[in-house]
């Protein structure tokens, strides 16, 4: 299950001098300023920053859902001008269709793209097994716990084998235990698929556990204040990483940088 990357040498995601302003009737908000960020294929980059610093906006820009006020965006070597299809997107809320079973929610991705049905069905079954949803294929979203709903959203985002996976605080609404489980699973899925991941979070532990690199953002208007490479091998075990001295050092540095305002 390796993903085809069109440009083997270029960046998966490339943001240069990005600034985004939102203009509403009453106010003008600068969400992010002067953000430059390059993500290479196969990397797992996490962005951590306080609420409202423009993390979601950044992901939407990469997906082509929001246009930057200035600066350039490219995905897989091509400039981003409209909503991009070479991505999978996972939001904080699962955003499932209430009337569809787990399996049919995952297959929405295939239906909307007009993918081959039997290939998609096989792929969906693989993902269901991969994320431990076996036995729940026919359940409706309201019959599932929050963690399982988010697994369904993850399967949906991976169905078409996207070269880039964007995740916006995907586990932010879950309890700590479920979150740790899903972090472990996501680490495994990332290693298995070779997908490039750009994940936004306000949890420092999550950012360090998952990332090959952590980008720290300032409060609004958001800018990237520092980059921390995570020199822990990609295959990570939760308990082990948590007690690792390198993890502690990194987490402490990031926490200092973010000040008292950030949680976790």
């Amino acid at each position: 299950m390796s993903t085809a990357t069109p440009t083997l040498t270029g960046a998966a995601v490339d943001l240069t001098d990005l600034t985004v302003r939102f203009q509403s009737k009453r106010s003008r908000t600068t969400a992010v300023t002067d953000v430059s960020l390059r993500v290479d294929p196969g990397e797992f980059v996490t962005i951590v920053g306080p609420s409202g610093c423009g993390k979601s906006t950044l992901l939407k820009i990469v997906a082509g859902l929001v246009a930057p006020t200035s600066g350039t965006v490219s995905l897989l070597g091509r400039p981003v001008r409209r909503p991009q299809q070479d991505i999978g997107f996972v939001f904080q809320r699962p955003a499932l269709l209430e009337w569809r079973s787990v399996r049919r929610n995952i297959l929405l991705q295939a239906e909307m793209r007009g993918l081959d049905r039997s290939v998609a069905a096989r792929r969906a079954d693989e993902l269901i097994a991969l994320t431990g949803l076996t036995g729940f294929e026919k359940a409706l979203p309201h019959e599932l716990s929050g963690g399982m709903q988010q697994r369904v959203a993850l399967c949906r985002a991976l169905l078409h084998q996207p070269p880039v996976l964007l995740m916006d605080e995907p586990f932010g609404a879950l309890d700590a235990l479920t979150r740790e489980q899903l972090n472990t699973e996501l680490n495994r899925i990332w290693r298995d698929t070779g997908t490039t991941v750009l994940l936004v979070t306000h949890s420092i532990a999550e950012a360090v556990f998952l990332g090959t690199r952590v980008e720290v953002m300032s409060p609004r208007p958001g800018r990237i204040v520092r980059t921390f490479p995570v020199d822990i091998p990609p295959e990570r075990d939760y308990a082990q990483v948590m007690s690792d001295a390198r993890f502690d050092r990194l987490a402490t540095q990031i926490r200092r940088l973010l000040g008292a305002g950030a949680n976790h």
Partner: protein, 306 residues
């Protein structure tokens, strides 16, 4: 990679599953999210719930009926104003075919009016939701059409379209249209913006997004609007008949009133209400079939308005 995944996930499922949910919970029945689901058999609990929902209104109706019977039999009011249930029943049986013919006419006008109102209303809602320009142009007209007293324009409609089917259908449409538009707009706007974003990254066109995401999302709202609309459509048809008609329950009502035939008038009223109730029930059943997944429907009995 799949076998490794299966090993790991075996441990996860136990932790992360809603306590009461068996692996294959079926949508209609005893889902743990249903709240007051009982460990009874499905048919049994359904009947029980139906009875529970119905005994209070049934008791009230029985009391009212008894009061009516008593007052009429004792002639606290003269029978040409308040007939006895027996007299109404007698009229009902004697004039059965006459009454049925006129019930059919009113039912026909109502159903056509309702279906047209539903289609036009939904179409208008789609225009309003999808186009800012059209929203600005169409909303004031819709509102204007709603605030005009329909009874006041009924004579005009009869003058334009004659005493046939058309003015009744037009009135039914005019009166039933508004709740469909309002509920349709609210429903179509209720779609999760994240789902729309997602749909854009899936490369889906507007029609596919409408069909698979927006329209199903709008259904719960829309069905509420349709329930209001169907009862209003009856009013529209009857008002149309009041103003100019040669048949229909509204026409019969005027005739009965003119002849001081209270028994016929009551029989007629009873049939009018019946049309409304039956059509309402039909929409309720349609709702139960269309959106069994919605929170308002889980574990519900189709005929209970809950």
């Amino acid at each position: 990679m799949t076998h490794r995944a299966a090993d790991q996930s075996a441990g996860l499922v136990t932790d992360d599953v809603p306590a009461a949910a068996p692996p294959t919970v079926d949508a209609a029945g005893g889902s743990p999210a249903g709240g007051n689901a009982r460990p009874a058999t499905r048919a049994g609990s359904r009947l029980l719930r139906l009875l529970e929902a119905l005994w209070r209104p049934a008791l009230l109706l029985a009391a009212l009926f008894a009061g009516w019977w008593f007052a009429a039999e004792r002639e606290y009011m003269p029978n040409y104003l308040l007939p006895t249930p027996g007299q109404v029943w007698a009229t009902m049986t004697e004039d059965w075919s006459f009454l049925m013919r006129n019930t059919y006419v009113t039912l026909y006008e109502t159903v056509i009016g309702f279906v047209l109102a539903a289609l036009l209303g939904l179409g208008t809602a789609v225009l309003i939701v999808y186009s800012r320009t059209l929203e600005k142009a169409v909303y004031p007209i819709v509102l204007f059409a709603q605030v005009i007293p329909k009874i006041a324009i009924a004579p005009l409609l009869v003058a334009w379209f004659g005493v046939g089917l058309t003015p009744k259908v037009v009135l039914a449409v005019l009166i039933a249209f508004f709740p469909v538009v309002i509920s349709g707009v609210a429903g179509l706007r209720s779609t999760d913006p994240e789902l729309l974003d997602l749909s854009a990254t899936m490369g889906a066109g507007p029609w596919k997004t409408f069909r698979k995401i927006r329209f199903p999302h709008a259904l719960p709202h829309l069905m509420s609007g349709l329930k209001v609309a169907v009862t209003l459509a009856v009013v529209g048809a009857v008002v149309g008949e009041f103003v100019g008609a040669e048949e229909g329950l509204g026409y019969v009502l005027l005739v009965a009133n003119g002849n001081l035939d209270a028994a016929l008038l009551f029989a007629d009223l009873f049939l009018m209400s019946l049309i409304g109730i039956v059509l309402f029930a039909v929409v309720e059943v349609a709702e139960a079939l269309l959106i069994p997944w919605h929170a308002s429907r889980r574990g519900g009995v189709p005929l209970a308005t809950s």
